[in-house]
Amino acid sequence: MDLFLDFLAAFGRQLQSPTLAFLLGGMAIAALGSRLDIPDAIYRFIVVVLMLRIGLGAGIAIREADLSELMLPALAASVLGVVIVLIGRLTLAPRAGPRPEDGIATAGLFGAVSASTLAAAMVLMEEDGLRFEAWVPALYPFMDIPALITAIVLAQLARKSGKVRPRISAIIVDSLRGSALSALGLGLVLGVIARPDPVFASFYDPLFRGFLSILMLIMGMEAWARLAELRRVAHVYAIYGLTAPLVHGALGFGLGYLAHLATGFSPGGVVLLAVMAASSSDISGPPTLRAAIPSANPAAYIGASTSIGTPVALLSIPLWIALADVIFSL
């Protein structure tokens, strides 16, 4: 009982975070019909800077890390990516209308990872003083890419036109060439082999919170704008969007906890793994799916992810932090 009260207190404290407030603020001003908008050029630059920052930070720290520790969590991330999509295939797809692709693509996005949610979790954990191995954010592609590939393969199996085999290597290469993953990878490599510490400290790190607050504003406005589209598809997408992040996050937390027991994976790492699992892709996943599963209805999967999945995943970050506070009795 005490544990539960602790949990509620920790959860409530986290919900006041400015990061989440900007998200809700974005939804509110969109709902009120505000004409405020952030120029597209700024948005694209913000995403690049955030991903470079995450990559550089991880890269700088990896220099001194024992990379063998990375293996188990990376495996856990990949398993989560695949399993989440399989769960969606079994639960969502059969209920999501005549075309199974719609449900499969949606599950693919929820298996993949949201860069903005990951960044928000990093800031919230820093405010809470919850530490993680510096390489954890680099697990992003280990969960993201297997999830997208699983969805694409399942969609092709569903169509039963067994002829076209997905070229998995092409999908991996194409994913890594996307703007967000390229920036993450570039930052990672530069962090490891160059000495970017001064520019990291004078530019990338100080801008991190601020740019994230603007990105949260955009995500909030976008979530509200897409709700209209979501209304045009089956109810089950809304239900999935509301519940799946919690289920997936719990799965991620569970697997992370096992890694903690096995190799001492940090509590912060467990939380980040849960957040990545809970999050759904809304920047880099959709175009990959659109290109590979053209018959799936984007209104369904983008609506479910951007309008519901991402806000729920963002608002659930405090949940995983509070859970960690209690379970690891921090």
Partner: protein, 104 residues
């Protein structure tokens, strides 16, 4: 002074831009222009200028001036049947007159 030609206008999402450019190149078209924008259609609203989460879903207009109408028609046919069946986009043709016909 001027020569008749046709202008093929293709409005698609940026995702399809490489495919359209490949079609144009294959058909021997020597040049085209690209203009970023937004729009509204059966697939809903595409913002122009304001932040849009997925860059690949932004609208672009591709304009190619060609002297040979048949080439234009065959490109348009491939586009509408192979790509635009379930993806946003429209194609139209309009008459133009050009100078220096050798360029086209």
């Amino acid at each position: 002074m001027t020569t008749s030609a046709v202008k093929l206008t293709v409005i698609v999402e940026r995702l399809l831009k490489p495919a359209v450019e490949q079609l144009l190149t294959k058909a021997g078209v020597t040049g085209w222009s690209v203009f970023p924008g937004g729009g509204c259609g059966s697939h809903g609203l595409h913002r122009a200028e304001a932040a849009q989460l997925v860059r690949e879903f932004a609208i672009v207009k591709i304009e190619a001036v060609l002297r040979d109408r048949d080439t234009a028609e065959s490109i348009a046919r491939t586009l509408t049947t192979q790509y635009l069946a379930n993806q946003p986009g429209i194609v139209w043709l309009s008459p133009v007159e050009v100078w220096r016909a050798g360029k086209f």
